[in-house]
């Protein structure tokens, strides 16, 4: 309910204000294929600009939160976020490379998606190659290392980039924005995210057993290798899809699953839907603030951290049933 109200409000607010009555009129007309007597610019604002953007915020927020919840449960680590295995760093490198090569927007997003997946795949291969250690530990460490490598490459490209043209674009991308999202891009992302959600949804109860750790899960009869592959694959896919249209938006995937866990407990069957719901609502609010608060758009990554971090601290300080 709250989410629906938020969506309606989000479509209305912005540089060009749309009144509630206008919105209803336009929607009504669209629904019945009739015409209305409002200026056509309202149509454009609602269907071409606001709706894709609102949809993108919902999808990206839900995707990042779902991936965060997955990694936190799988790695039993409160600091796990969607980019723990280097997907954001890899996607960032792909995008920055695309910007440096002056590629069109669609190609930049494609580069981000492919580089994000490739980075995690490399991390996974490394963890398979290193034997005789706790597999999860090796995986996370490999993720940190690959993330650092990608980060170094990004820094190099930024250093070499044209400071008047490319550098602002790179910086803006790395801080996250839903500024230039088109309807088609949202649809593609939505489909990829939906595909990635399938294994997470089907295996929701198995995840509880996986969160006990590798050895105990195996003693309880779970094929942990296969589960890990499926969970990591799914979470990486949806993160890469989200990051490729939104840029790097931190904090959402780290914080939202925590809050969801405070509300419904650690059972993944309830944690996953609650995380997605909260994540979608949260990013929508953040995006509304980003485009209404100041004359220029504020990058989302800045807002999620500025608003999220203090709220998160406050929550941790007063909660009893969260992590432990």
């Amino acid at each position: 309910m709250l989410l629906v109200a938020l969506v309606v409000l989000s479509i209305m607010v912005g540089k060009f204000d749309v009144s509630f009555r206008d919105l209803i009129t336009v929607l009504w007309a669209r629904l019945w294929g009739a015409s209305h007597d409002l200026p056509p610019v309202i149509d454009t604002v609602i269907f071409q600009i606001r709706m894709p953007r609102v949809a993108a915020a919902l999808v990206v927020g839900a995707a990042l939160s779902a991936a965060g919840a997955t990694y936190q449960s799988l790695f039993r680590n409160p600091l796990a976020s969607p980019d723990i295995l280097g997907v954001s760093a890899g996607a960032g490198l792909g995008a920055v490379l695309g910007i440096a090569l002056a590629l069109p927007v669609g190609a930049i997003q494609m580069m981000a998606f492919v580089f994000g997946l490739a980075t995690v795949f490399a991390v996974y291969l490394i963890s398979r190659a290193v034997r005789g250690h706790d597999p999860i530990l090796v995986l996370v460490l490999a993720g940190v290392v690959m993330g650092a490598l990608a980060g170094a490459c990004i820094s190099l490209l930024k250093y070499l980039a044209d400071p008047y043209d490319e550098l602002p674009a790179i910086t803006f991308w790395l801080l996250g924005s839903l500024n230039a999202v088109s309807r088609e891009e949202v649809m593609v992302t939505l489909i990829i995210v939906a595909v990635g959600m399938i294994p997470l949804g089907l295996l929701r109860w198995r995840m509880n057993i996986m969160s006990l750790g590798d050895e105990e899960a195996r003693a309880l009869g779970v094929n942990t290798g296969l589960m890990q592959l499926l969970f990591i694959g799914a979470a990486t896919l949806i993160t890469a899809a989200a990051v490729s249209i939104s840029g790097v938006i931190g904090w959402v995937g780290l914080m939202i699953p925590h809050i969801a866990r405070l509300l419904v407990g650690p059972d993944f069957s309830r944690l996953l839907p609650m995380s997605m719901l909260l994540g979608a609502a949260y990013l929508l609010c953040i995006d509304d603030i980003a485009r209404t608060f100041a004359e220029i758009e504020i990058p989302l990554g800045i807002l999620t951290a500025l608003l999220g971090a203090p709220f998160f601290l406050w929550l941790l300080a007063r909660s009893k049933r969260g992590w432990q």
Partner: protein, 260 residues
Amino acid sequence: MTLAVHQLAFGYPDHRVGNNLSLAINPGEVLCFLGPNGCGKTTLFKTMLRLLKAQDGNITIDDEDIGRWPQQRVARTLSYVPQQHDAYFPFTVMEVVLMGRGAHIGLFASPSHRDYDIAWQALHNLKIEHLRDAVYTHISGGERQLTLIARALAQQTKLVIMDEPTANLDFGNQVLVLNAIKRLAHSGITIIMSSHDPDHAFHVASRVAMLKDGRLTGLGKPDEIITQESLRELYGVEVDVVEFDTVAAHAAKVCVPKID
């Protein structure tokens, strides 16, 4: 169901812990492993559970090599009560016990009413129904241990392996857990366990296996095996094994260490 170990070599890929170990566990017995820290009890258990690969030799259940069994079949035959349990997430006791049903329900399924009934029965058998909605990370060590035993019960296996079920528990909780082990044994479950306290072997074990440096140094009834000499050899300390008559008029033995 008879579990047997044949000329087993066990350990970690880069570090062998034990060699050439053979023994058979009789159906319905409580076999208690005794031995100093690092003697290989936990490693042996993990090998039996196939969490570690047997480096040589094999493990059979009813003369069938379990080396190639799928993990699910192992988990339907053997359950595991791990030693120290790091709890990460605040699951409720019921949720933890339900996880024992993992080997029985479909890959994409969640626990059914029947699974809830089985989990509830497990809580009932251990007399911890009142903990059902308690948060696992907030209960005492003894209660956690009982919860993990309940989870093994919900797994409905003929064999249960318990790694030091009484470790880090206060005296009252130790008795609670020992009683639970006795009850399980009476219901026909075979129990393989380890303990740091030879007295616990006197209380619950039908046989004792002594393990030192990955080798079996003694195997037999507690009365025959736990002696001044064997304890000296095993732990390197002087101990008196004293027999006395209790009020209930059955003989009991305790180990009394000599302290200067």
